[in-house]
């Protein structure tokens, strides 16, 4: 329940960041706007990767509920790897933007874009750390309390991060300014 509350609260956090981006997305030099720099095919692939990580997360939760430690660990690891792929893609995307001349402070569009997606990236990274910690302590049999529930809570967080990306992907990438 606490996790649900926390996620409810996060809605307002991301809402604020998304709104800031929406307000500022048009404020940039003509040659460095979202329409010029975004690489939709590339981002679509990484969005797809993140989406699939939700699937593997569900499978991990499901395995944990069936008390299948080995499969739980497997799916958790796969989820973490998919997440890492996504973050890696984001890092690549950021550096390629940077090479094109779009730095954090270049324009209001770039500041709000990097802030929004950066916050999301940090959330994914935190999620990966949580997943790896789960795998680690799971192996040592150290998860206190009900193991399946802990996995499920991490799962909720993970899905939430995915859901946020679903929104960001549509509003930020697909809808041109």
């Amino acid at each position: 329940m606490a996790m649900w509350m926390f996620l409810g609260s996060e809605c307002l956090l991301f809402g604020g960041l998304i709104s800031t981006y929406m307000l500022y997305r048009g404020r940039h030099p003509a040659d460095l706007g979202p329409d010029q720099v975004f690489d939709i095919p590339f981002t679509s692939v990484s969005s797809f990767v993140l989406l699939m990580s939700s699937l593997t997360m569900v499978l991990a939760v499901s395995s944990a509920a069936q008390k299948d430690d080995r499969r739980t660990n497997l799916w958790l690891t796969v989820t973490a790897l998919l997440g890492a792929t996504f973050v890696g893609g984001q890092v690549y995307e950021f550096t390629s933007f940077y090479r094109e001349g779009l730095g954090f402070t270049s324009s209001l569009f770039s500041s709000s874009f990097f802030t929004l997606t950066g916050f999301h990236g940090v959330h994914v990274t935190v999620g990966i750390i949580m997943l790896m910690a789960l795998v680690g302590i799971n192996k040592r049999g150290r998860i206190p309390g009900d193991k399946a529930e802990v996995v499920e809570l991490v799962g909720l967080y993970w899905h939430f991060v995915d859901v946020v990306w679903i929104i960001i992907f549509t509003l930020v990438y697909l809808i041109p300014s």
Binding site: A2, L13, G16, T20, Y24, T105, S107, L108, F119
Partner: protein, 670 residues
């Protein structure tokens, strides 16, 4: 006398396992702290009562800090062309006065009461996440200290507590004050957010058997609404503060007009948080008022359901009115009209509360203790503050009043006259519960009258000063604009400054009262178990409560459970008969004492984790290396935290000292 007992794990609960034991083995990285006396028992505690008291003490300290700042402001304004403070210092002073009072006094004092009394009022042994609770407290403390160290490290924030952009960006506010402000609030914000998650979970999950939501004590109800507001408001200010930090520290341009930004973005984000914040401040006070009034009127709260629903309504509508802080900022007539109407709407549930309070007293048998006096004073003052609020909901008239002293009068009547007076009522009302001693009623009444008169002398004239056109946040006022008639600014400014002295004396009397009560702790008699003939659950336990709160978790049958155990009501005649004394009620409960009570164990990690945050904060401001240092501590602490079970393991405990005893007896041994 405190005991540390075995953890609550479902498999073992009630299995007849041993009770009192001492943890012997380290878990996690550091050895588990187990002191039950001395400073260690406080610093590493996870007991909601100890944390509540610490919240209270620290908040009281910041109240004095903020009070001194206020006095300096009033001293400066007592005469024309005041020279007590320089312009820069004056700006820092009013910025920090507001910041301190809002974030470091009223909010945490509400948290103090919520922490201490919510578990007691709902019949729980602790909160849902005791270590997170401790972490929250330490975040608040270190955040507050961090914020105030700015005074010694180049000057405090000088942009006003609302920190409007672009006046607060690095070009116009070059000292580090605003950085301290932003990071400090970010840290105390963590305290609010974790507290909110924790208390909401506690209230929804841990109520005693039989306590449906509509049988919950009203203070708990109002706190629940408050925590929901915090839960949803804190992330908004978090976003705003991050944008501010990125702008000041990393060269972003969110509020930089030359880059095409719109400074109103900050105002919206700030007030989307800021208006719910107003209700975060007053709702706990409403809760205390609604607890104290029935007790001393010897009548149930009039229209409990209406009070609950109006509280919830305030919580909802409070989200739709933020732009009434911005009527003069050029929103356009449609927005202004919409927000003007929404603001009027919120007057209705607030009015409902005042009506219910008056009707609670109506037909009662009113006993004027200090606590009751504070609440009666609070209702009167809040009425004035509420009505002046309606006058600014009228947007055109607000364009004449906003940013003048009239606004200051308004919100001090609601916050000081309302929320703070209620908090003082809470002190007098609950002191015997918390410490087993009564505060002196004689000194208390002096305290009340001085504060009551002081508040009205200080803030009453500000209505006049404001309507006479004196803007706020001005380091001085001049004779040329003061006028000469009855309403001249000079006279009323002096009155206001004089009033602030009376408030000061009142607060000092309170401190004297506390000192007297505890200095002679060996000689002053213990407070009676039920000094006020109270009505709610927190009184069905010892004073002060044992570490585990209740020997047996009471089963709840009615709103005002305690009252109904003491009195029998004849439904035909309406006659009320006493059937049991408080001692008898308590004895009956204790007879049913649980054999095994499980409490969470103290932990080092909350304070270590919290301390890493200001280190990172200093790092952001002064030296990026410190960020790394803080970050390492943070990671280690999180790691240690995650590895440490929130309650010590079975194997940590020695065999039972006394296999057959109940925990109550053991509690007395311990």
């Amino acid at each position: 006398m405190a005991i540390i007992e075995r953890p609550s794990t479902p498999a073992l609960a009630g299995s007849g396992a041993p009770a009192v034991v001492t943890p012997s083995q380290a878990y996690g990285v550091l050895k588990r702290p187990v002191s039950t006396t001395g400073w260690r028992s406080w610093v590493f505690t996870v007991d909601h009562k100890k944390l509540g008291i610490m919240y209270g003490v620290v908040a009281m300290f910041f109240f004095l800090v903020g009070g001194v700042e206020a006095l300096l402001i009033r001293l400066q304004l007592a005469g024309p062309e005041g020279t007590v403070l320089s312009a820069g210092l004056y700006n820092e002073m009013f910025t920090m006065h507001a910041t301190t009072m809002v974030f470091l006094f009223v909010m945490p004092m509400g948290a103090a009461f919520a922490n201490y009394f919510i578990p007691l009022q709902i019949g729980a042994r602790d909160v849902a996440f005791p270590r997170i609770n401790a972490f929250g407290f330490w975040c608040f403390l270190v955040g507050g200290i961090f914020l105030n160290t700015s005074w010694f490290l180049g000057g405090a924030a000088d942009g006003g507590w609302f920190m409007y952009q672009p006046n607060a960006n690095a070009l116009f506010s070059p000292s580090h004050g605003v950085d301290f402000w932003g990071l400090g609030l970010q840290i105390t914000g963590i305290a609010s957010l974790t507290g909110a998650v924790n208390l909401i979970t506690t209230i929804l999950n841990m109520r005693a058997p039989g306590m449906t939501l509509m049988k919950m004590p009203i203070f708990t109800w109002m706190s629940l609404v408050t925590q929901f507001l915090l839960l949803f408001a804190m992330p908004v200010i978090t976003v705003a503060l991050f944008l501010l930090m990125f702008q000041r520290e990393f060269g972003a341009t969110f509020f930089d007009v030359s880059a095409g930004a719109d400074p109103l973005l900050w105002q919206h984000l700030f007030w989307i948080f800021g208006h719910p914040e107003v209700y975060i401040i007053v709702l706990p006070g409403f809760g205390i008022a609604s607890e104290v009034l029935p007790v001393f009127s010897r009548k149930p709260l009039f229209g409990y359901r209406f009070v609950v629903f109006s509280g919830a309504a305030i919580g909802f509508v409070g989200w739709g009115v933020w732009a009434h802080h911005m009527f003069a900022s050029g929103l356009g007539p449609v927005s202004v009209a919409v927000f003007s109407m929404a603001t009027m709407l919120i007057a209705i549930p607030t009015g409902v509360k005042i009506v219910n309070w008056v009707l609670t007293m109506w037909g009662g048998k009113i006993w004027f203790t200090t606590a009751m006096l504070f609440i009666v004073g609070m209702i009167a003052q809040f009425t004035i503050g509420g009505l002046s609020g309606v006058t600014h909901a009228v947007a055109p008239s607000d364009t004449q009043q906003t940013d003048t002293y009239y606004i200051i009068a308004h919100f001090h009547y609601t916050i000081f006259g309302g929320a703070v007076m209620a908090l003082f009522a809470g002190f007098y009302y609950w002191w015997p519960k918390m410490f087993g001693k009564l505060l002196s009623e004689r000194l208390g009444k002096w305290n009340f009258w001085l504060m009551m008169i002081g508040v009205n002398l200080t803030f009453g004239p500000m209505h006049i000063i404001g309507l006479q056109g004196q803007p706020r946040r001005m380091m001085n006022w001049t004779e040329a604009r003061a006028g000469e008639g009855f309403f001249n600014l000079g006279f009323w400014n002096r009155v206001a400054s004089f009033g602030s002295l009376l408030i000061t004396i009142g607060v000092i009397l309170f401190l004297v009262n506390v000192w007297n009560t505890h200095k002679k702790s060996s000689t002053t008699p213990k407070a009676p178990l039920d000094p006020w003939d109270a009505r709610s659950l927190e009184w069905i336990t010892a004073s002060p409560p044992k570490e585990h709160n209740f020997d047996a978790i009471p089963t709840v049958h009615a709103l005002d459970e305690f009252f109904h155990r003491k009195y029998e009501v004849d439904h035909d005649t309406g006659e009320v008969r006493k059937i049991a004394s408080a001692e008898e009620v308590l004895a009956a409960e204790e007879a049913k004492a649980d054999k095994h009570i499980h409490l969470p164990s103290p932990s080092y990690w909350p304070i270590i984790l919290a301390v890493s945050l200001p280190i990172m904060g200093y790092g952001v401001i002064f030296n990026r290396l410190l960020i790394a240092v803080g970050g390492v501590i943070l990671l280690l602490a999180m790691f240690g935290w995650a590895l440490e079970p929130s309650v010590a393991d079975d194997s940590d405990y020695d065999p039972p000292v006394d296999g057959g005893g109940t925990s109550k007896e053991l509690a007395n041994i311990g």
